[in-house]
Amino acid sequence: MPIGRRQWLCAAAAAAGGGLAQAASESPADQLLLGMSMNNLLSLDPAAATGLDAATVACNLYDSLLEVDAEDTTRLRPGLAQDWEIAAGGRRISLRLREGLRFASGRRIDAGDAAWSLQRVLALNLAPATVWKSYGFTKANAVMAIRTEDARTLTIDLLQATDPTLVLYTLATSMSAYVLDREAVLANERQGDLGNAWLTTHAAGSGAFELEVWRPKELLTMRRAARHWRAPARLRRVVFRHMTESQTLRLMLMRGDLDMAGGLSAPDVKALSRRPDLVVDSVRRGNLYYVAVNARHPRFADEPVRRAVLRHLIDFQGIVGSVLPFYGELHQRPVPPGLPASLSSPGYRLDVPMARRLLAEAGLADGFDTTIRVIAEAPFTGIATSLQSTLAQGGIRASILPGTGNQVYGAMRERSFEIVVGRGGGGAEAHPHSSLRALVYNPDNRDAARLTNFQGWRTGYADPTLNGLIERALLEPDAARQLDLYRQAQHRVDELVGGVQPIAQVLDTQVLRRAVKGYVGHPAGATRLREVYKEGV
């Protein structure tokens, strides 16, 4: 549009006025403005995306067959599927889709789209396929095992024995289980990539919002879907802005220019929690902060050394109290609170004399030199600093090696580390197997096995009895006996002192304006914004 002289003059006047005027809040009533780090948001393709950032966005662009209740993550709720059943002695899951479902494109959703979406995950074999492969699915058997009975019925045959409830939880919580508009995706296929490149920055779902703009590490906006099969979302638009500086997030919240922010430092959250116009919302997540040692390393091969370091030279209570307020709650076992069979913490605490006794028994009365690998950001560096100090009290001289997540977990996957401060665990599925499998299960400890997705393998520690308990529990059909086996597995972890010691359950903390209503943070990261609205703005 050509600009006339008058408009240029107006622009100049606006600029001059704008520099001096007291700014009003820039947050409109029908938009939700969120600030958060989008560093890890690399792809929106459900078959490729990983991490909490992607989960936060994708659950609003796509729908899954099932959902889990945000208040009680063991309770499954209908999603695109109105009902489901487990048949054939636990080896078959059937899901029946609702009627009248449509994608954002307007195309009708049928069971074929759901089957194809899952098959696509296995065909691409990217990170989200890992969980499906653990159930015995492969690219080769996916078409046979995941199929449609009719336009509304999806059938999944479980080819290897497992707990079908676990698979249902995966269907309800994993991004890989989102249902894609097959035609829209295939229309954008490039060199047989099943639309992977296109879906990195586009969406083809049926969620309450449609993707409007995405500029990686800058901005993502979503607009209300014109025809969602549920009631339309209450907000017209949602804006996610990439921001990493806690102080600037704090200032923007105080000014009313942001409605919600995540990733603030603990002191900033504490300061904001005193303001009447803001609310702090913390959600317990399914993963844990931990300290891990490499049991294959000569220093940590002896059980007494691991016991000294992991049980008696960590100031658990101090770390949770000073480093993790708003971001972690004390928990020292692999199955976090809120999950079935979770046990309360056994009460490990800093005990330097005991640690020194154990080290002396191991012939290390003078201590030794070691390294702590840690992601160079809060709260990991705070945990590592505390650990360095308490290890020194025990005579262990530790150097901290800060790095990116890539470097720290990369070294862990290569088993080329001594100590790591990290975060991990099952996370999504509200099932003890998910956590135990991720943290302590290790069916093959050989280097050649390269079970790099298991923390148990990475730390080079395996116990056949523990593995057996976890495997038996998974296949135990009786619920009470299954829970008992999971408790036994956790007691076994207490006895053994393997390579991983949980410190705290992860909390996801957001600060919201009090005017934001209907926000319910989801423990699995699938926080749907369809019911969110702003009051009195």
Partner: protein, 336 residues
């Protein structure tokens, strides 16, 4: 003769850029960063990891990897970025205007304040304006720019409400302005959206001011030093004896003789702002070139890093060539 000189110049530029690329490529392969992990995440299993490793061509020898990259480059293809999945050229076209907009205004502020301040300091040598300019220069140059940024946000955004907050435009306007040039101040005007234009200015002035003050400190110190050297020359004494006014002596004679030196540092300072505004970009959530390069480096996204380094190289070469061309305008000796 002239065409031979141009050919020599072009060959020199090509060798410089090729060397830069080769060095960056080798450093990228030595760095303990794994681009595969950046894509598959820390919990992927072995088969997924190996598959992506192959897809990225990382199983090939370094020579073949570099040759493939170089062949693509010759055809104008800088490859795809891991972070965005988009061609690196598209990414750079998105982030460069943001930095150009910020750095150009910052440079303007720095130049308009820094050069007169430096001249004033030199002409008032060892008097209070000189002391003031030196203190300002010292503060501006030694205070971390991110601290300036944070303080600026606190005072002008949080307390006074004069400045916009984070980003290039108010959040509610994000994604609503059609991109034409990528310079939001221009695009909002082209769209005829004066409210958005005002929001852009409110967001632009503070970070540009912070960067500009940093540049001002450097430029004023350098200008002062250059001017002091000139003002002690005999031709200046002669000019004064001839009865020329102070203004004529300072601006007509001394300043004319430092223009070439100033051009050099202006070109370098502008280049530095274009590549090195990353701290200000981080504090102000400015989605610019520095942030893109830093983010790519941390991910081990070597296509993006190599593309960015190439752009930096080209920018510096272009700025130097521009400065060289201007030398000929300002310095008769260079025309010979």
């Amino acid at each position: 003769m002239k065409s031979a000189a141009i050919a020599r110049g072009l060959a020199s530029v090509a060798v410089t850029l090729l060397g830069l690329l080769l060095l960056t490529f080798l450093i990228g392969r030595v760095m303990p960063l794994d681009p595969v992990l950046a894509i598959v995440g820390p919990d992927a299993d072995r088969s997924t990891y190996d598959q992506v490793h192959r897809q990225l061509g990382l199983d090939q020898p370094l020579t073949i990897q570099f040759w493939r990259y170089f062949s693509g480059l010759v055809a104008g293809d800088l490859g795809h970025a891991l972070l965005t999945g988009s061609p690196v050229t598209t990414d750079l076209a998105g982030v460069l205007p943001a930095t150009v907009e910020l750095a150009t205004l910052a440079m303007l502020i720095g130049t308009l304040l820094g050069i007169p301040l430096g001249v004033l300091a030199a002409t008032q040598h060892r008097r209070w304006p000189d002391h003031l300019a030196r203190v300002l220069g010292l503060l501006g140059h030694s205070t971390p720019v991110f601290w300036f940024g944070m303080m600026g946000l606190l005072v002008f955004y949080a307390w006074l409400g004069w400045a916009g907050g984070i980003g290039r435009i108010g959040l509610a306007f994000e994604g609503t302005v059609p991109r034409v040039t990528g310079l939001l101040s221009v695009d909002t005007l082209l769209a005829g959206d004066l409210v958005a234009f005002r929001s852009v200015l409110r967001h632009l002035l503070l970070p540009a001011g912070v960067l500009g003050l940093h540049s001002m400190a450097y430029l004023s110190r350098m200008t002062r030093a250059f001017m002091l050297a000139q003002l002690s020359q005999e031709y200046i004494t002669t000019a004064r004896v001839k009865g020329l006014t102070g203004w004529q002596v300072v601006w007509g004679h001394a300043f004319r003789n430092i223009r070439v030196q100033l051009l050099t540092i202006l070109a370098l300072a502008y280049g530095g702002l274009l590549e090195g505004a990353v701290l200000v970009e981080t504090v102000f959530g400015w989605p610019g070139f520095g942030s893109y390069l830093t983010g790519s480096l941390l991910l081990g996204d070597m296509n993006a890093v190599m593309g960015s380094v190439l752009v930096i190289g080209v920018l510096f070469v272009a700025l130097n060539l521009t400065a060289d061309a201007l030398y000929r305008v300002f310095d008769p000796r260079a025309q010979a």
